[in-house]
Symmetry: C2
Subunit: 453 residues, 2 copies
């Protein structure tokens, strides 16, 4: 009997898929990376299914690639030869939602926006909102420590994770963290699992923090600038003024052109950058107007505060369509550097220089309030991987980000995609202790090998 | 040559103290716990001193007890026989303070309130404010993941820690984290070190997040209640109304009596609890008045919003004098349970029941907005350790906290004091993986043995 047959026999009917075409569709994420030939896909419906799968994998030394909705942008859930894919997307129960304690206990397959909607029925919100939040899962968000648009005010996924139920590689159950707002018993195992890309264990439930939802819809402004540097200065000035935006997004000329090309937004010839910001504070309208004034003082050529929900939706829609607009131009290598906010303009300048030097089209959007930029490197549709000039430009961008005191990845994770630059940031001591931690949880090395660290 | 002489010889002059009386004064924290007989005290002035000390300690297998200002309340810096105490309190440089990036790079001996004051010169603040913040150090705050009064709004020390420079047990330097607001390269080593009580490495520098300071002083209210349950309900209602207080403290009757006994505050016979709250929002005065109304609706017998800075100072002073007032009553075992906010009244009831059943005086103050209670068990001055009835009452309090979904320690840490209850909360799997993590960083077990995990 093949090992996979033993797994099929030990799980309830129809939990394991072995059709090669079906496997292939579960072996990818949203990167261009080509998967190998995994053995099968487990559609876990319960913690028990996860335990069974991991015990089997330990016994047979089979690599396990955990997976949520496969919306990752770094290859963390791309599966290799001989692996078993462990999909958690069918574990969709919101086990508990306590308005009084402002917490929820959820299974990993819950769609992020669904949790947010469930919370809003009680006047609460689940704050982390990666752009993918209508299709990505809490489990995937936890595995990558996903960021999002609102995290400029509310923090990243880790900041909302209070406790986890995790199945370890050998099938043991580990409960981390707590249901309380504070707690310091022992090491921060919850924080360690968040962002570990499925390399330390498989999350089967999470206790997450909810927050009071703002009473009114956010107030929104948009500003156009004749130079990126002015836009960057406006961001710094807005943050320094204590405006505390709940969203602060920057689009560069190349991104705006891609959108204009697709949807004809009447882009002015002189516009080099657009800034879109929101405030969801009780005095949001006044704050948005204050941010508008600061943009004018910093050289904006045009500024408007949205006067209606429809107009707001259009402005945010502009930002949301940025990625799709780029996909029309070609295949995309989406990057994710993050720098200290004060050097955001320098980072943008460095990206433009890299694009020019290597003859590569790069469109950049940024969660500007966080200094987190997504330069998207465009290459020809149908190419299996980016051509050398794209890698060279990406290399230059990463090197500059680190020189400016930044990081390779603000919110997408390392996965497979950033392995080649990882050592440059982490250094040998951090790499060694991380391998040591990995070995504590997964001594056989079966959990998502080759990812994250 | 004794091992300690080799250390004296390898460090600059006067770095090592070996006078037994002096050693004893460095071997204690603010608990009643009696230290052993350590070999000496290193007054580290630089990272190099820390490296030298740890290399020597590894070579000679000498336990090292790192220490900030010794204000801990769980015994984490109480030193045992044959240990070397490594005091970081002379490393007081603020290496960098960047208003534009809202970060500071500080050495571990910086007094927490000094960093806050330095930040305020630039319109910023360092948010974590343990009650000890005028005398405790950033290093000690990081080692214990200290909370404080403002953390109901701004989070605990971990939420402000972006990156660390750490000397490992063998003298290697590990840099964790980053200077950016977001970042997901590798495992969260920064979060792992925060709260690890010096058992994984010695922090020699930290990059911390600063925040915009509120434009105006906070608005403050105080409310008196005839029942603790009403006070607890008011806390829940205030949080549920989205008031987002920047401080929300509860004092029980026993605490108020101790203060009244000392300072004659005119305590009414019917007052069972007092709530003190603040809002530092731009609409703080209106929010304080809203919280005042909610207290009235929840049965407060008296409520007032402070009309002057002096009055505010008096109200907050009441809270600050709670611990000293208790120390007049006897020796103190200070505990630190944290429960989900909705069961705060149940927890207070359980504390009162334990006090009555075991005939022990317990005074409780709480960071009520976080569900974090400090029941202080009073016993006779001069006793070396708490009598059996105090331990029995404490045991009952801890058991109830866990039954209510809470934790043994919200912000003080495990240290030595909570070792006897630790297994009840963590369970065997978490204990085992924590020992595994400890062994990765400190295979010889020389770093603060017997603490934290």
């Amino acid at each position: 009997m093949r090992p996979i047959d033993a797994l099929v026999n030990s799980l309830p009917d129809a939990r394991v898929l072995t059709d090669p075409d079906v496997i292939d569709s579960y072996a990818r994420d949203r990167t261009f990376l080509e998967p190998g030939k995994p053995l099968g896909v487990v559609l876990a419906a319960s913690r028990d299914d996860v335990v069974t799968t991991l015990r089997w994998a330990s016994e047979h030394r089979v690599p396990v690639v955990p997976r949520g909705a496969g919306t990752g942008l770094a290859g963390a859930s791309v599966a290799g030869d001989g692996a078993v894919i462990l999909s958690l997307h069918k574990m969709t129960a919101i086990r508990e939602l306590s308005p009084a304690d402002e917490i929820a206990v959820v299974e990993p397959g819950v769609i992020t926006a669904d949790l947010d909607r469930a919370a809003r029925e009680h006047g609460l919100m689940y704050a982390p909102d990666p752009s993918s939040y209508e299709i990505s899962t809490i489990g995937g968000n936890l595995a990558t420590n996903a960021g999002g648009l609102r995290c400029v005010k509310y923090g990243v996924t880790r900041d909302s994770a209070l406790g986890l139920e995790v199945v370890l590689a050998d099938g043991r159950i580990l409960n981390t963290g707590r249901r309380t707002m504070k707690g310091v018993t022992g090491y921060d195992l919850t924080g360690l699992f968040v962002g570990s890309e499925g390399t330390l264990g498989v999350i089967t439930a999470a206790t997450v923090r909810l927050r009071r939802a703002p009473a009114a819809p956010p107030a929104t402004f948009a500003a156009e600038f004749g130079s990126l540097r002015d836009a960057g200065a406006a961001v710094s000035a807005i943050m320094a003024a204590g405006c505390q935006p709940s969203l602060m997004e920057l689009l560069d000329r190349a991104s705006l052109e891609a959108i204009d090309d697709w949807r004809n937004i009447g882009l002015e010839a002189t516009t080099q950058a657009m800034l879109i910001g929101q405030s969801d504070a009780t005095d949001g309208q006044a704050t948005a107007e204050r941010m508008e004034r600061i943009c004018m003082e910093n050289g904006a050529s045009f500024v408007a505060v949205s006067s209606s929900p429809q107009e707001t939706e259009e402005l945010i829609g502009l930002r949301r369509m940025a990625y799709q607009a780029k996909e029309r131009l070609g295949a995309c290598l989406v990057e994710d550097v993050c720098v200290p906010r004060s050097v955001l303009p320098d980072m943008i300048t460095a990206i433009e220089a890299a694009a020019a030097r290597h003859g590569v089209k790069i469109c950049t959007v940024a969660h500007a309030g966080d200094g987190n930029l997504h330069p998207v490197f465009i290459f020809e549709h149908g190419m299996v991987e980016p051509p050398p000039e794209v890698w060279a430009a990406a290399d230059e961008v990463f090197t500059h980000a680190l020189e400016l005191g930044g990081t390779l990845t603000g919110e997408h994770g390392v996965g497979l995609l950033k392995q080649r630059w990882l050592a440059m940031e982490s250094g040998p001591v951090a790499a060694e202790v991380q391998r040591g931690i990995k070995a504590v949880f997964d001594p056989l090395g079966i959990l998502n090998p080759g990812k994250a660290i």
